[in-house]
């Protein structure tokens, strides 16, 4: 399936900051389920945009600006070709063995409640079954509300109403508490009914012996399909965040996001 993404973020500053640094993880890399046809990042001001790669193999761009601006717009435009791989990830850049993805992070720390929940759901099941059961139980037991404030796995689990980001954190925490390596994926998702979207999409990947890395999208209770565009991966949101930024000086910042994810026209596919 050919999917077109246009993702524009505008930062409005009450008082211009004297400098801005951002690390962008906004560029997907090829794997068997995804081929990048074209993809670019466009800025509305002259700035230094240095491409690179982080330790996890994600493509990153470092944006630096050292002069005062009232506003800044970062746009991503691109097209990818996707394939349904049954949720199994193959041919992706892997820099670490699965064991690394058992690391505890503040955002994915499993408290007793999550541990008990995970153990109860998994029972005596095999790894793959456990993961599907976890995904199902989280999908049924938690309400997704994209306006819920960002928090961490333990608090999100207690709150029961969470954003997709923290639902993913809960899934990762639960999987790791069962000694299953798990990680955070950020990207986009094509929704038939919703071309205009509010934000990108997040899901998890867990490592299954024999299969490798398998995706679990708890918000939708399914493994990633050809509708999922995998962009970046990390131990938690912070490692896969589309944007991590910092500014010096200035006052409050306001954000305007416009995102469209749609199927590219058929003739363009030929």
């Amino acid at each position: 399936m050919r999917i077109k993404v246009e993702h524009r973020t505008t930062y409005l500053y009450d008082e211009p900051p004297t400098s801005i640094v951002q690390i962008l993880r906004l560029t997907p890399r090829n794997h068997e389920g995804l081929q990048v046809r074209n993809w670019r990042i466009v800025l509305d001001h002259d700035a230094h945009l240095a491409p690179g790669e982080d330790a996890f193999g994600n493509t990153i761009h470092t944006l630096t600006l050292n002069r005062a601006l009232d506003d800044l717009t970062v746009s991503v435009e691109g097209e990818v070709e996707t394939l349904d791989t049954g949720g199994v990830l193959t041919g992706a850049a892997e820099r670490f063995p699965p064991g690394l993805y058992l690391r505890d992070t503040p955002l994915t720390h499993a408290d007793d409640a999550i541990k008990t929940f995970a153990k109860g759901v998994a029972g005596k099941r095999e790894v793959l079954d456990s993961l599907h059961a976890l995904m199902g139980a989280l999908h049924d037991g938690m309400a997704v509300d994209e306006d819920a404030p960002a928090t961490d796995a333990a608090r999100a689990f207690a709150a029961k109403t969470v954003g997709g980001r923290d639902l993913t954190h809960v899934f990762i925490a639960a999987a790791r508490s069962l000694a299953i390596p798990a990680r955070f994926v950020s990207g986009y998702m094509l929704r038939e009914d919703q071309v205009q979207q509010k934000s990108g999409h997040a899901w998890a990947e867990a490592h299954v012996p024999g299969l490798g890395w398998v995706g679990f999208d708890a918000a939708n209770a399914l493994s990633p399909t050809e509708a999922h565009i995998r962009v970046a991966m990390g131990l938690d949101y912070l490692g896969a965040a589309p944007v991590r930024g910092s500014r010096n000086g200035g006052a409050a910042e306001h954000l305007q996001v416009s995102l469209t994810v749609g199927q590219a026209r058929r003739q363009q596919q030929n």
Binding site: A55, P97, L100, D104, L235, G245
Partner: protein
Amino acid sequence: MFIWTLGVALAFNEMLGPDGQVRAPYAGVAKWLESVNVEQLDRRRAEAELFYRRGGITFAVYGDAQGEERIIPFDIIPRVLAGSEWKLLAKGLEQRVKTLNLYLADIYSKQESLKAGIVPEELVWQNPAFRPEMTGVTVPKDIYVHIAGVDVVRIDANDFYVLEDNARTPSGVSYMLGGREICYRLMADLYGAHKVAPIEHYPDDLIATLSSVAPQSAGESPNVVILTPGQFNSAYYEHSFLADKMGIELVEGRDLFIRDDQVYMRTTEGAKRVDVIYRRIDDDFLDPLVFRPDSMLGVPGLFNAYAKGNVALANAIGTGAADDKAIYAHMPDLVKFFLGEEPILKNVPTWCCRKADDLAYVLEHLAELVVKEVHGSGGYGMLVGPQADKAQIAKFRELLKANPANYIAQPTLSLSSCPSFVEQGVAPRHVDLRPFVLTGGNGVKIVPGGLTRVALREGSLVVNSSQGGGTKDTWVIDL
């Protein structure tokens, strides 16, 4: 940090020796002690304290009321090591620190020590101090630990044990140098009667070490700075002291900024490029774009500049992966693996509670052992079995069962004592030693001696400054 159980009377006495005869290195000190009375000693002690107070040579204690500054008690009676003892110790330290550097270079690149099974993989991958971000980053001259503080204790005339390898941001060197300054001023009679190996050149060695890892592009005279969390940090005095002695700027995160992956500092004359940062900030706080996003102490974009080789950090990021108490147990094997040598310094036998057999042994013998958190420091979060009551032991039993991988256990050793001036007069007190080992492009440098820490309270087990320990000057003399 250290522990004893036999009591000071049975510990190895560095002055008197097991036969009660004055050991050769202490001949001068023993004679001098006979010639002074308590009032004279007390006057000098008071003068030493005044010297610290007036100079603001203080440290802040975490958890105390904000702004409170304390001085570390200074014991005016020096500790003496013979040149021959030091020579062996120094060789062992060099071997140890070389191994730390080789190990770090290995886990952040080829991971051969893991493949060879010397260190279990999970001790790396799941070690919070291991920084995956550092994998594949080339550091100048493959040196990770430029400044190490290796804590050493002795238990008899010949045996030195390493207690802890501090490879992150070890502190205390300002107290080592300050103690020498006091001896020079207040103890001239005794000091003058010995040929004490000098340590005053430590700042010169340090700046040479730091400059030696500057990026090529820095040219002849690299701009080296010290990065401090600020004046509320417990070691702030040391940061400013070292900046002063090296003649370099003491910067805070807000003084630095990044342009085109290059670090600059804000000066009254505009931006000035920074080549080497001796950072006294923990990894977590260095760059909010890569590590803790809420850090206000670091510099956004610093990691990228570092990974591109445009600035050197000392110590490197992620060195904590080599100095925690779980890796400690593997250090003798790592020495053999990387250097093909027998370890010169001994390791305290260590039970890793993440191993089921070890855990079982530890749970059986809690009352005899010292249990420590793998990542704890400063003498907090530990159980001293022989001194603990039943409730404490029961509590640790639960903690161990709940999270065994978080703990190691060691036997209690009887660490050596030195004559010290305490409220009761002159009495033996337990000591340890933290020598500072510098590693740069020009090799390893260690000034003779180090910081001797002393448990001044009778019956006290812990020599940490944050828990009532004091310091002594350490003299290495040729007999």
